[in-house]
Symmetry: C2
Subunit: 430 residues, 2 copies
Amino acid sequence: MIEKRTPIPVYEAAALVSRHHKHGEIEWVHLEESLHRYLAEDVTADHDVPAFDRSPYDGFAVRASDTAGASREHPVRFEVIDHIGAGAVSEKTLGPFQAVRIMTGAQIPEGADAVVMLELVKTYSEGEKQYMELKRSFQPGDNISKKGEDAEKGSVLLMKGTRITSGVIALLATFGYASVPVVKKPVIGIIATGTELLNVSDPLVPGKIRNSNASMVMAQVEEAGGTPLYLGKISDDFEESFDAVKKALEKVDFLITTGGVSVGDFDFLPAIYEKLGAEVLFNKIAMRPGSVTTVAHLDGKLLFGLSGNPSACFVGFELFVKPSVRTWLLDQKPYALCAVAVLSRDFPKPNPFTRFVRSFVSVKDGMLQAEPVGLDKSSAVTSLADANALVVLPGGTRGYEAGRRVHVLLYRDENGSEQLWPEMFQFSRS
Amino acid sequence: MIEKRTPIPVYEAAALVSRHHKHGEIEWVHLEESLHRYLAEDVTADHDVPAFDRSPYDGFAVRASDTAGASREHPVRFEVIDHIGAGAVSEKTLGPFQAVRIMTGAQIPEGADAVVMLELVKTYSEGEKQYMELKRSFQPGDNISKKGEDAEKGSVLLMKGTRITSGVIALLATFGYASVPVVKKPVIGIIATGTELLNVSDPLVPGKIRNSNASMVMAQVEEAGGTPLYLGKISDDFEESFDAVKKALEKVDFLITTGGVSVGDFDFLPAIYEKLGAEVLFNKIAMRPGSVTTVAHLDGKLLFGLSGNPSACFVGFELFVKPSVRTWLLDQKPYALCAVAVLSRDFPKPNPFTRFVRSFVSVKDGMLQAEPVGLDKSSAVTSLADANALVVLPGGTRGYEAGRRVHVLLYRDENGSEQLWPEMFQFSRS
């Protein structure tokens, strides 16, 4: 039963998975429900923004040429011929030395080409007429937000695959997207394997552990942008497990299993894949943690066999599942953001294989600093809570000292990498 | 009606608001619903992790001393006396040259003090007896995950105020938190003012704009961790608006209004605050955009009068509302992460007041780089979609050249600052 497996380099594994990436379909949701979804179509400006020349201030619209000689000693007087609030449009056209009282956001009246801020003028009445007086000159265009200066009609404002943040919502609302075209979330099934698993609410008993992976992976799926579908725990019975996996595949876009991938008598996920007729892309990766991560492919669906060890499971998800989900969502940068950081303390362990060290990356004086957190074992769970990045240490290295520059994958950053970590290719080959 | 206002420095404004910060109460939610909530209590380990000495690999548990002389030339033979899967516990105690077949995650049997990986042994049977043979020696403790090495019973694993991410969920599940103590979300009312506002679904008409602020602020509230409650648009009628604000205050923890704060005839939010008997903390800030941001306080509740200009509204929220929400949620770092970055292109505008420039911050060769995006006007909306940070340019400066180091507020970063931007204090005073 002991099968020999040949580990493949991590970039090769990721590249193999990427060949089976697919794109999700479109659906329309209310603007209010679109937060953190991904745009399924480009958003184009259907009108200029601003849609008209408008005033950025409360004040008076004037003809700049009339203000030419104004100074402290020689204030210039204007007759106020109209008052317009935001949302209203004046029907008057300004003549010489006439002004229109205007609110922030209101349309500039005909004839006017500058706005004088309210704070800079004196106002008074004489009989039925109202006047304002100013003491400095203005240039044509002063304090006018020009039609189209923010966005011109027809320009692409947002590319498909854009994640909808609060700032994006502002733009969608401005362009009248009460309903928004987003990518349908992939449904991602999760099956936990292992008789050693207790439910989260169970008391601990000797030899067993609580099933933390299912809850964790469900949360990772949500954070990646998918819909998690927990399909329960399966025991170590082959037929039962086979049926569970087969049924699951009918209702999901991706399937994740946790555990059952090691080279042990009771670990039979590879056998299930075989019986299903799935194509196994790889069943061993030259990396720590997560070396036993197995990915298969069946009828256009990816099957991720993640390790049962919490840290290995977590890393396997971030490296292989998340990019698949993000690509599905049309994200142009589906891979974790890859950057350079300075290691802030020694990491003396040798690395026979590429090692992903759970770390906390912060900024100090403009530079990224990476600090390994907690226990660096595939079974560790506490380090997952504090980490926001993986330091990538190439295989074949003997340990790293503080101050060394290292590559980090900032998996919690909103930005991503377009490419499959080209830097990783480089250093994995060196 | 034209009121003189005295602008106060932005850090002073933020400090004034912080004096009225409050903390939210506790509620219990299911683990599955706790993602991105904030912990209301410290989480302490109620048991060691691992709870028992366990095997990180599939293999054989042995007594290290028995392996002492093993080598290629002189393999050592062990009798396999038991098989234990993960979750099971062996009842046997190892004697000399005995081994127990053990799965990943299983408890180390009595007498054993090392684990030999499956890949390193040869197994065979003789009659009814099973044997394994190995060719190298092991030290006591080799390949054993020691009880408590990941977390010791009694240690604080997570501080209250921690945001619950997928990694945190793993920890909560491990410690049996099927139900999680989180901070109740604050209910944040949103009222939009201005007769110029169309609904998002309305066609454009001359002089009017769509109400993008309400949708944007609702999304900002959600991203900050609160529950948005949109209370509709109010017109420019004083009594109607007063009633709307008064009623709103009964059902919210914070109230946000957008628009109605400029020094114009139709902008009467200050008058409403006065009639309510609210204490106005400030009504003018020496900053761009958002100088008209007004914050008041009534019966323990903060009332945020944000600008009606989209960018000014957005910035006002990030600077003043979000820290209040995050403090409510017990976040120990409620202020936007403040860091240093290199400006990647010229910003030639003079800055009479502190200026917050919507920018995109990325990492290049380990250094943060800040690039101003889009149109830098308070009325701009397109720049909000692309920005992930505000470059902070101190008042009294004449413009900045590419290559200059500047302070940035990384308002989309999951991390924050504990303090009210001490760096900003520094440079605002210089």
